[in-house]
């Protein structure tokens, strides 16, 4: 077996840490979760030479070891716990050559943990333009390490970095400064109480309330000869510690770094003058949003139609070429229809993630946060809520997770609670098919009514989110320390490789996560619709034949199938809830769609497809026939099921109702309580019911 070295990549956000990770591992990486929390855990393998491999873990970006978010907590918990299976043999701290001063703060903290640490100085291709020169031997000596000068953009220095990883055992584990001088007697007492522990680790445990091994804050508090300090005293000490570290860094850089102040008129200031401008900034942001929606709804339509058509013909082909029977039906009507229903989401979601990745990678997203903070605050949100509210138009799950970097708990909670109102792509197929059914074809000012309706639904979703935030801000009595700090990174041309990997990873995980649910529901649904109990179901042939003695054979078969469906297990469920949804203009078949949609909205169209094709003797799966079948549906009294009134009612119900188990599960994990997801479920769905009821009763004349 070849030798394996465990490596942890650590660094501030915006240092190109992930690019370094991609350069080291290529596509040889996988994304998982840390147990119990939803922080992405990225790991990959890098081949250092013929005998040695490195297992690299890309830790979440952090400004320091003093964690202020869940993501940052992951870093400190791993680095404090020697028994963790991922505990690194060697740490690489990735820094940006233009921000060395600030980036080195984290480096000095890691060094205090006495882990062998390599300093990787990234973006070295920009040194000349910025007039920066470094004296590497002096820096290596002062920082007690080896330095790799790399550029993940130009792909230089990566081999040298691999070389340093291979020889990690030669690295010094000595800290580069002694921060305990800020309060000598306090730290001496602490060390005396715990002679076998590393002083800096103890200090982190005291200030962070994390634990490692057998020592946690309680054990330190309980040692009688050592007295811990009050919170404000601790904070004052942390401030002193930070000043001490910066003094060391400043002295080191004074010797090892020179910057020519005359170099480079800055791209940053020229771009910022326009992009953060009081007027132009907002116009440009609006234009970018428009372009994004154009991409998601227009450009994505071509591949989506193609995927849709392929799956429809695949289902047909299955039916024609496999022997008839329950299994073939399950395959064609349940599984293939179900998978097709999820595959059509790939193009719009990929486009959305592409845009979001480009905005983040380029550094533009921070400018949007800066521009929007004041406006969003009026509604109890933060400028940082913009990211979840935009991502929510792709999928609420990553959006809710993106709220993590909002510092104020109240602002973060409100963001999480209102994000599901934004129009996630799972609503899209429902909207598309209902709009096609009930909205007339004409145009207004060159835009079709149908497109206008779709756009209005997006606007309604967003406005409801903001309005709900406003109300929550008034109702929720949460005192939380509200502050707001955001780094304004340099503008960068996004790296194709980084963007591509992000888009592929995010789309893949969405498709698999949602796909599992949809597939399971399709199968269960097909079963419940194909089987039933009782005489009405089992003797359907005779009952129908007796009732309609004069029908042609195909009509008779249709009637039998419909009768069977009505008395199948699912039919019984639908019939039971029919009285509740009737005032909204729905029949029991739509009711079944609504029920299954509470697992995930995108199931609605698939459910109707399954119900209508199971309930019909003529089999075909393509959307056009689902649509025409829906158009042909009538109530018992002969009136159409899908009218303008019931259609609008249905659209509004889907706009507001909380119908996504995965989102509820994520909200539970992010808020650490069932209270908030249950609140979402009840309030959003109750509101949806009310609005749909009013809309139907008002429109149905």
């Amino acid at each position: 077996m070849s030798k394996q070295i465990k490596v942890a990549l650590i660094g501030n956000p915006n240092t190109g840490k992930t690019s370094v990770f991609n350069a080291l591992t290529g596509l040889n990486q996988k994304v998982g979760n840390y147990p119990g929390i939803t922080v992405d855990k990225k790991q990959g393998v890098s081949k250092l030479n013929d005998d040695v491999k490195a297992n690299i873990i890309d830790l979440p970006g952090t400004y320091s070891l003093n964690a202020s978010s869940l993501d940052e907590n992951v870093v400190i918990e791993l680095l404090l716990n020697k028994n963790d299976k991922d505990f690194p043999d060697v740490a690489i701290v990735v820094t940006d050559v233009e921000n060395l001063k600030r980036n080195l703060l984290l480096y000095t903290q890691i060094k205090d943990l006495e882990i062998p640490t390599i300093l990787a100085i990234n973006m070295s291709d920009r040194m000349q333009r910025k007039g920066i020169s470094l004296d590497i031997p002096i820096l290596e000596k002062a920082l007690k390490t080896k330095i790799a000068l790399i550029s993940s953009r130009k792909n230089t220095g990566i081999d040298e970095l691999k070389q340093l990883i291979t020889n990690y055992e030669n690295l010094s584990t000595e800290p580069c400064l002694d921060a305990s001088v800020i309060d000598k007697s306090y730290f001496e007492g602490l060390q005396k109480a715990f002679p076998n522990q590393l002083l800096y680790k103890l200090w982190l445990v005291i200030t962070q309330d994390v634990n490692f091994g057998k020592v946690d804050k309680k054990t330190i508090d309980s040692v009688s000869e050592f007295k811990t300090k009050s919170e404000s005293d601790l904070k004052r000490l942390q401030q002193k510690e930070t000043i001490k570290r910066y003094q060391f860094i400043n002295e080191t850089l004074k010797k090892g770094q020179t910057i020519d102040p005359n170099a480079a008129t800055d791209l940053r200031s020229r771009l910022d003058r326009v992009l953060t401008h009081k007027v132009w900034g907002y116009i440009i942001f609006a234009a970018i949003l428009l372009l994004m929606f154009q991409a998601v709804y227009d450009w994505a339509a071509y591949p989506t139609d193609l995927i849709d058509a392929s799956f429809a013909s695949l289902a047909d082909w299955t039916k024609e070429n496999l022997p008839e029977g329950a299994f073939t039906n399950l395959l064609a009507e349940g599984i293939i229809a179900g998978i097709g229903g999820i595959m059509v989401f790939i193009p719009p979601i990929a486009f959305l993630f592409l845009f979001i990745a480009l905005l983040e990678e380029s550094g533009y997203m921070s400018r949007v946060v800066f521009l929007m903070d004041r406006v969003m605050r009026r509604f109890g949100l933060s400028g940082k809520s913009v990211v979840p509210l935009i991502s929510g138009n792709a999928c609420a799950i990553p959006a809710v997770m993106a709220a993590r970097n909002i510092e104020s708990w109240k602002e973060r909670l409100i963001t999480i609670l209102v994000t599901p109102f934004t129009t996630c792509s799972a609503r899209l197929p429902v909207y598309v098919i209902i709009i096609a059914l009930v909205i007339p074809k004409g145009t207004f000012a060159g835009i079709s009514y149908q497109a206008l309706t779709l756009m209005s639904l997006y606007i309604i979703g967003f406005l409801t989110a903001v309005f709900a935030a406003y109300i929550l801000n008034k109702i929720l009595k949460i005192k939380s320390k509200s502050y707001f700090v955001i780094e304004m990174p340099n503008y960068k041309l996004p790296l194709f490789k980084n963007v591509a990997i992000t888009v592929i990873e995010k789309t893949k995980s969405f498709v698999f996560e949602a796909g599992k649910i949809i597939l399971a529901i399709s199968v269960v649904l097909w079963f419940l619709a194909s089987y039933g109990a009782g005489e009405q179901f089992n003797n359907a042939e005779e009952i129908v034949a007796k009732e309609f003695p004069n029908l042609s054979e195909t009509d008779l078969e249709d009637k039998i199938a419909a009768h069977k469906l009505e008395h199948s297990y699912i039919g019984v469920v639908g019939k039971t809830i029919e009285p509740v949804i009737k005032p909204l203009g729905y029949d029991w078949k739509i009711g079944i769609g609504l029920v299954t949609s509470f697992a995930a909205r995108e199931v609605f169209v698939g459910t109707l497809a399954t119900i209508y094709s199971v309930g019909s003797a003529s089999d075909s799966e393509d959307e056009e026939t689902i649509k025409s079948k829906m158009a042909a549906e009538v109530h018992a009294d002969g009136k159409k099921v899908f009218t303008f009134a019931s259609g609008i009612s249905l659209l509004l119900f889907y706009a507001f109702a909380m119908q996504c188990m995965s989102t509820l599960a994520i909200v539970k994990r992010e808020t650490n309580s069932w209270k908030w997801p249950m609140l979402q479920l009840v309030v959003m769905s109750g509101f949806a019911y009310l609005v749909a009821l009013v809309a139907f009763q008002f429109l149905n004349k």
């Binding site: 400004y63 320091s64 003093n66 202020s68 921000n99 001063k101 600030r102 703060l105 404000s232 904070k235 004052r236 942390q238 401030q239 930070t242 000043i243 910066y246 940053r268 200031s269 910022d272 003058r273 953060t276 009081k278 921070s366 946060v369 800066f370 521009l371 903070d373 004041r374 400028g383 510092e407 320390k481 509200s482 502050y483 707001f484 700090v485 955001i486 780094e487 304004m488 990174p489 340099n490």
Partner: protein, 84 residues
């Protein structure tokens, strides 16, 4: 570090766009550690790069780090103004 400030003290919130100063004192009770760690410490130079409408938030260059903070944080950072 003192946490009291006099009415006459100049704070970051008083800077105009393009003006520079040197941080004199930060009241640690009101300033998050994260901001200190990003370089917002006594002795460090600061420049107001850009402001959003109503001068809030403020886009700063502190000690070579570019970051944005809200005005209600900026009033707790006391500075000496530096004239060009």
């Amino acid at each position: 570090m003192g946490s009291s400030k006099n009415m006459t003290d100049l704070t970051l919130a008083d800077l105009k766009k393009g003006q520079q100063g040197v941080i004199k004192d930060v009241s640690s009770a009101h300033i998050p550690l994260k901001l200190l760690e990003m370089g917002c410490l006594p002795g460090n130079p600061v420049e107001l790069v850009q402001v959003a409408p109503f001068s809030d938030p403020m886009y700063l260059n502190i000690n070579g780090s570019h970051l944005a903070i809200r005005k209600d944080t900026a009033i707790h950072i006391i500075i000496d103004q530096v004239d060009e």
